[in-house]
Symmetry: C2
Subunit: 332 residues, 2 copies
């Protein structure tokens, strides 16, 4: 095996750089002290960074290397989507333990670059260093946005309806299946596993919601629906009541939970890794939302609740309300 120490940092960077495509607005690409890019006229820059760590955000024992590369970019594109931004470029910081070999790095890049290509994201720079710790990928993603099209968390107003894209809880179920090795069961609904391994950031949905000014607030669901509801409510100084029966669940999730007896709704509320968007829409703007949904061709958008003046965070279980559970919080 070609190990990192026999290859050297510079050769590794050259090997990666040789795979990269460029774009006309990239003034200086990888290989210099920094990248230089021309901004989009009239637009602002959107900047986000998110790291994934082996043993914390994924587990090398059951997540293939290309899925690790995919995920590292996906979680960042999801943040851009939540702002309504159009992604443009990314920086990739690789922290490599000694037992990572060259084929593994190639596979990580496979996953990263495939998703980048799908969203026309150019990898313009990055950094490689060894670490005595776990494999870590830290990505910075940069997008562009018109300053009057920004989707913040803080714009929800009483009476707005609460929506989510896609279905919830599948990724958390997929992770549970991978952990218990049940994913090898041929009867297992591997849609859940696929949703966990290769989340599909809702870039187009965020972009259309921003451009159509359809949403009053928006964020992405990385730590479960309950966490997203809480964050939007706190940032907007409002309450939110979620209708439990309206939460969109995948067929695969329902089947899995029918077998194991777990509550699908609870999984959707508290399980993480969905990377769907939660957003609020003024009643008078539902026409704008309809035109967004029409252009999303197949991605479900579901109304799951309502914004309230009272600051309470509630789940409505068929007429009986209960407090919103807590989502996943890191360090806890």
């Amino acid at each position: 095996l070609t190990t990192l120490s026999s290859l050297g940092e510079r050769s590794l960077i050259q090997r990666i750089t040789a795979r990269l495509s460029t774009a006309p607005w990239v003034t200086v690409g990888p290989g210099d002290d920094a990248a230089v890019v021309a901004p989009v006229r009239g637009m602002h820059d959107v900047l986000t960074t998110d790291a994934i760590v082996d043993g914390v955000h994924f587990d090398r024992r059951f997540v293939p290397f290309d899925a690790i590369g995919h995920r590292a970019l996906a979680v960042n594109l999801s943040d851009l989507a939540a702002m309504g931004a159009e992604p443009r470029c990314a920086l990739l910081s690789l922290l490599l333990p000694d037992d990572i070999d060259l084929p593994a790095i190639d596979r990580i890049l496979d996953g990263f670059l495939a998703l980048a290509g799908e969203h026309r994201v150019t990898l313009v720079g990055g950094n490689i260093t060894r670490t005595p710790g776990p494999l870590t990928l830290d990505v910075t993603a940069i997008g562009s946005i018109h300053p009057r099209r920004i989707l913040r968390r803080s714009g929800a107003r009483p009476g707005d309806h609460v929506y989510v894209t896609g279905t919830l809880g599948s990724a958390a179920t997929g992770l549970r299946m991978l952990r218990s090795n049940a994913s090898n069961d041929p009867a297992a609904p591997n849609d859940c596993v696929a949703r966990y391994l290769r989340p599909d950031p809702r870039v187009r949905a965020g972009l259309l919601l921003g451009r159509n000014r359809a949403a009053t607030s928006c964020m992405d669901l990385s730590d479960g629906l309950a966490d997203g509801v809480r964050q939007i409510a706190e940032a907007s100084n409002v309450g939110i009541t979620i209708d439990a029966s309206a939460i969109p669940l995948s067929e695969a999730l329902r089947e899995s939970h029918a077998r194991d007896g777990a509550s699908s709704v609870e999984t959707a509320l508290t399980g993480g890794d969905d990377y769907e968007l939660i957003f609020t829409v003024r009643h008078s703007h539902r026409g704008r939302l309809r035109s967004v949904v029409n252009r999303l061709a197949g991605l479900p958008v579901t109304r799951i609740g309502v914004v309230t003046k009272s600051r309470d965070l509630l789940v409505d279980d068929g007429g009986r309300t209960r407090p919103l559970p807590h989502g996943y919080e890191h360090f806890r």
Copy 2:
């Protein structure tokens, strides 16, 4: 002690965010899914990322937490300086092991924000995660530059003179002293230790070199002079001969090496962590360089060699030439 697990990620982010200043061009600051910043009219964005890892790039046993925070930003500002960019904002990604407590994080931020303030850099976002591995800080720094003022590595031409800012080798000597605990010796030249602990990125020098179009190429010296010479020569398809006797050494380095018998020149050539700039200047542009130097008020700029058509990389030791040694390369 207040530990991370008792505080929670969100409270920690709020604690940090409360310390941050903002700027009129920050459209959305920390606390949303991503930051939004207005670009500078007519300028391009300069993007760089660099991580520092405990046990690889520093050692918590002898580097104070505020110096760790300082260093994480400094190495990135040094990359911006090497392009001739004006720094504007940064994202800070903190990867925290369980034994890092709140006072340590506060001190890391002290060092980071003090240097940020000095260079008018706004911390607009970031990420915090726990890691089972070592303390790691990954910073993305963003600057702006006029597209015709970019300092690349690739512009050196035969006949150009080679210059460096400051003095070389001090940081490597400081690190050696810290490692051997000699820094507690009252006779020890602690200038070296200070240079290692809190490198001063040459932001103003890079900016002036770019604005005056004084340099044909430029990069920063993070892995020693020999590495910098090699990189510029390779990127520019030229050779470089360095005059060993011209390499600027600090008084503290000379004194230290007079005692321990080490070669100051070899330390400067192969020791890392200097974060000075190396750059090349056309003979006919030495007037431009003079006006840059006049405005640098006290930062020495020293001619150390010449660019050659032959691709050889040489050190001239008083008339006898020898091949340029290799600098520090990671993974080796």
